[in-house]
């Protein structure tokens, strides 16, 4: 039977579920994959209660476990994913005129944007709108902190594909943010 302390720990872990689910959803796209990763994380956390003891922050600790589960899920899913139409830079050529200049020059975003809820919310929305593989590679790079060489290896793509996907993500995000957030 579980002790009082174990039940408390269980409740604290369970209380983090909504947070973990949002976190996983940003990276894994399908609700199902995100729920699986969170489920595995909660189970792993409960099983590893002893190794948490005394550490400072439960959320940080569990988020660390979740990151590993997300990477596992990405590895599993790449075998089944096609890269349809996500590997060309040419679609962005339309953003430049014949002399190679921006048709709509990028604006000077205020540095304080980072402290604006609206900016972060708009960024989250724009991220969710990226094509699946593009968003995944971008978050592997910017959030999970993979080097591009490691992303190529994990996903079985060439370095050129990798930087094209990152370029696409950045170009699409800045356009999306200038249309949405900056206009307000």
């Amino acid at each position: 039977m579980a002790s009082e302390a174990q039940r408390d720990f269980g409740r604290e872990v369970e209380a983090l579920r909504p947070y973990l689910l949002r976190y996983a959803s940003l990276q894994l796209r399908t609700r199902e994959a995100a729920e699986d990763a969170v489920q595995e994380t909660l189970l792993a956390a409960l099983a590893a209660e002893g190794s948490f003891a005394g550490r400072s922050n439960l959320r940080t600790w569990i988020t660390g476990i979740l990151k590993h589960k997300i990477i596992d899920a990405i590895r599993r899913s790449t075998r089944h994913q096609a890269m349809d139409g996500e590997t060309s830079v040419e679609d962005f050529d339309a953003l430049f005129d014949q002399t190679g200049h921006w048709r709509e020059p990028p604006q000077d975003w205020p540095e304080q944007a980072l402290e604006q809820k609206e900016f972060l919310a708009a960024l989250e929305e724009c991220l969710a709108g990226l094509p699946a593989r593009t968003g995944q590679v971008f978050l592997m790079r910017e959030h999970l902190g993979f080097e591009t060489g490691d992303i190529c290896k994990e996903l079985g793509i060439t370095p050129t594909h990798c930087w094209v996907l990152l370029y696409r993500a950045r170009m699409a995000l800045r356009e999306c943010l200038e249309k949405g957030w900056l206009r307000k």
């Binding site: 921006w102 809820k117 972060l120 991220l127 971008f138 959030h143 080097e147 930087w163 950045r170 800045r174």
Partner: protein, 60 residues
Amino acid sequence: MKIDCKEASRLISRASDGDLSFGERVRLRLHLAICDACSNFNRQVKLLRKGVRAIFQKQL
């Protein structure tokens, strides 16, 4: 050799992944010195990176 904004935008993206050769870095720096639009894009790319970190750290 001079580059245009289209080429510069690609180099800016790759630069933030640490993939530029010495020659590319020089060409990009010379272009940024004279181009406001690309300088803005360069800052945007950095803000996107900080923004992603902020999303995952703070408001979730």
